[in-house]
Subunit: 333 residues, 4 copies
């Protein structure tokens, strides 16, 4: 008899990836997959990649979810706080949404609006001390997909004082699944194939989370939609404060992190290598012309950026080895 | 102590996928990955998606391979026969190449040239009686990627006499990884993105294999290169001989096949749903205008079309459950 | 002072391509672009590729359109007949929709439903006698995009009796712009990239038009959605009646057609080579195994399949050289 | 009788686009297209999108080229200087390569190696005074594709002192045609589709050209290969020196530039909108968090980034209107 897990909001892309990972997890039993509109429909009608999974979407009902040992919330931003409040404390919860990430209520109001639901334990195990914090928590807020890619690249450099926190410039491109499964014209295949398009330039709602997680005090983020289903490539530049070798700092920070790979010198991360996996690939250098430190990170936005990370957090919360049911190897080409 | 497996020709796309599957297989220990030109290089220099796999390509030497319990040959057509001949009978071999697929030496000479190496047990477990034959064999010839998709769609219909074997028309489109990893201008991203291009029209070397495997006596195959890394979509049309329901025939044929999914009526296979998996999705109907039976099948050419199938065959040869270390769930979107 | 042209339904993909072609046409003055929902919005808000075109969408009002010498109707199927009925006979009309293509009212009712608006002159100038018919018409029904690709490949062979009309098998794959600009989940970039998916298998509404245009009496059409914005690749197979060389038949049929190119022997059409152009590329062979004739054609579904063809028809109706303002050269890679 | 133009190096992607533009140019007669290896082959064997162009590649021979009024050199870097030296001064030359762009011989040696061929008139008409300089020149060095996108975004801001030249951070992603037509494994479709990969991070050979053209004194450039055939999206960030509105500066700089479009507020450039066109789309804002100026520009790397720009320069050199034979409208979707 395994650990009973449920997914709320299982009809979206992160929800589908969670179902795939749970189905392959040796310790998890999937007891419910809920969805607002698709309640009553076979899961495979929405996620044909799960052909053979004999399951029907349930309505998103707290009573259904309360029956599980652990619940993943893969709901739109603003919807998970209300649902989580109805779940008993004995049920462990990993929230893939933004509702419980920010400690700063003002930042929440400014970017998301509405009342601030309060911060939960932040779900990025690779941050110092965070692995233990997650292991002891019953409520964990999964890190946002852009924040994962950028924080893993930047946080150790700021933490050791190797770069200045006040002047960080990031350009990060994401595959389209990061924008969700709702039908919108600008996300049509006809629009996105062959196209790169920036969005929310100069004022992205993920900036407060990234600053909180990295320690950056001045951050310019330009997100770009890229013509691929999955993947985030983040290019992070910052001003070095001294002569610290950024590669050495990163190597030290992630010596014991099973999912973070600092690539050999000369090899640069690319997104396809992380597809379907829970891994993050990193590389760093110092720009010969500007002297800036450049760190590039690649993740699968649905993997380490969402569902993979959520399973990693769940493993820690449940006392399982961090890597249970997760792969570090990408599906490529 | 697991079963010792080796991969010869591990630097190609099928080889890389084999390494990924072997690394995740609970019973296999990877003891060698050989490659002609990359001998001495880290595996991750060629396959960055395997970051974390600490292994160096060995030279393709029979002595190295003879040390394994089972060897996968993922070599170019025409190279595996010579190598296989140097391996002791005690070493089980799965050949992903074409060398040992054809029983007809004339057909071999006509399409491939050179001497015919002789046929091995044909590695498509879903054919009648073939699961047992593979379980008893020490040498198995993996089915070609197009042949998998087409045979699973067509063979049961011919076997029960539901369609005429003499007039089968197939158009099958493949992702670019099916064309291999050798650098050729017509396979450049600039050429293939946004493009569909037929090739070897009217005379494809896979036709004899498909006829042998399906029982078709007249077959027109038009292969098309499609702008995606993975996946084969085969559209098979044939003339019905009576009123047999093609869906019923397929449902019956694959009732016990864990990797073949006949989709619910109205749902049609699409390739992305099989990416990274060992599954084949099928659907069939009768054309209202022409009366032809149309069967569509989708596979991942590197999964059920190559590496996944090879592991499935290896499992059978080694007495393991057929599904060990394989997934039926695709990585999508 | 040029010829005054207007576009109704200018906010869709075919509409946008029409605006691009009209803007570059040496004899046309664009006097109105109408759109239902976007009335009042700048054209460039919907079609950013037309940056610099200083024009606002008008409401789709017959009075606005009646002021033009020629009107292109790029409306959803079923909407153009009503609008056309309100335009004076003195205004020439090219309808890109399906409303006036079919001569058979029963076929219309069966596939589209609703009353049959009656057939107009069929807008495929490359059919025998059709160039003159179009030149003398004031109402022309543009050929559907699949029908263009298939008819140009097949009609001459049936016309000369080189193939049997009763057993034609077609698999045709289209880029996503053929499915229009309405936001639908299955057309999202996340869904279509990396994917091939058949649709309306066994019963496609374009079959009656294709039979009417080609003379085929038995036709199996399997349409496939392909991961590219533009392009149709049609693979047409038929049974030869004798020894006629299909290349010779096609060469003869299109000797004077400026937009149809029979490629040199050994070269096969591919869609990217026709992107942005009004051309159709053709190649034919006889399958060595089945003896079937295989003809492959490639077009840009928005070019020769829609907007380019419409301009070609308009040129003929207005007494201009057929090629005015149109290119035979694709934008590739 | 038109102006006689020739293309040397016509078998590459920029060469093919030049042939397409020349074929549609009302004043140009194409008298020769030369290619090293393909000499003697039909142009359409290499560029099937030009089906109908009845021309054979000539060998790259100065005597052949000297017969033209104007020669476009689309050769690999390092090859055009030697060829140009053999052409009489009476033949106008536009060099699409890097050989004559840099005024600083040291920078040339550092990044390209070999002797410095000396700088020609720099072919970016939108720079102050440059339109007249080009009109008076017989030798013009086309701007590099990255340099076009970045310079148009940045140069006016530095010129008026609105941003600090010493701290510019650029991340620029390019479609694969920018990497050329040589067959390389990392450019295969299987590798690039679904993938974003940075390259030459921290030390790109285009930095000296960009600094020369923009006036930047400290520049960090991270180039990224994107999964699309064409297009460059450059994200340029810089530190403002005061309160100047970056949009107002750009609007003023390009008031008379027919190919540069500052988009309406809120609309951001995306690459697909410029495909096949000679246009550059721009937008700018000030980041609310960091206070940095962010300018994004989009071009077609083969259009305004190469062949389109070359024709624009040729028009100016020949006294034709700058826009002759060029389109500002992209082929989209």
């Amino acid at each position: 008899m395994g650990i009973r897990v449920a997914v709320a909001g299982a009809s979206g892309y992160a929800g589908g990836e969670l179902l795939r990972l749970i189905a392959g997890h040796p310790e998890f039993d999937l007891v419910a997959a809920t969805a607002h509109r698709q309640a009553g429909a076979p899961v495979t009608a929405v996620h044909p990649q799960l052909a053979g999974l004999d399951l029907t979407f349930a309505a998103t009902d707290p009573a259904t979810l309360a029956d599980a040992d652990l619940v993943f919330l893969a709901l739109p931003h603003g919807e998970s706080a209300a649902l989580a409040a109805e779940l008993p404390e004995s049920v462990r919860v990993v929230d893939l949404g933004a509702d419980h990430r920010l400690r700063d209520a003002d930042a929440w109001s400014r970017y998301y609006g509405g009342p601030h639901a309060g911060a939960w334990t932040y779900g990025l195990p690779e941050l110092p001390g965070q692995r233990a914090a997650i292991a002891g928590a019953t409520r964990v807020a999964n890190t946002g997909c852009y924040a994962v890619a950028i924080t893993l690249a930047l946080a150790p450099l700021i933490a050791v004082g190797a770069v200045a926190p006040a002047d960080v410039v990031v350009v990060a491109a994401s595959g389209t699944s990061g924008a969700g499964r709702a039908a919108k014209t600008h996300l049509l295949g006809s629009e996105v194939m062959g196209d790169l398009s920036p969005y929310k330039v100069g004022a992205h709602q993920h900036v407060p989370e990234i600053k909180q997680a990295t320690g950056a005090t001045g951050l310019s983020l330009t997100p770009v939609l890229a013509p691929m289903p999955r993947g985030i490539l983040a290019t992070v530049t910052a001003v070095p404060t001294g002569d610290a070798d950024p590669r050495a700092v990163l190597a030290d920070a992630y010596a014991d992190a099973p999912f973070v790979h600092l690539l050999p010198e000369g090899a640069w991360p690319h997104t396809a290598a992380t597809a379907g996996a829970n891994s993050c690939h990193l590389q760093a250098t110092v720009d010969v012309d500007s002297g800036r430190v450049i760190v590039v990170s690649a993740i699968d936005n649905l993997g380490k950026g969402a569902a993979g990370q959520a399973v990693q957090n769940a493993n820690l919360m449940l006392g399982l080895p961090e890597t249970t049911g997760l792969s570090t190897f990408g599906v490529a080409p």
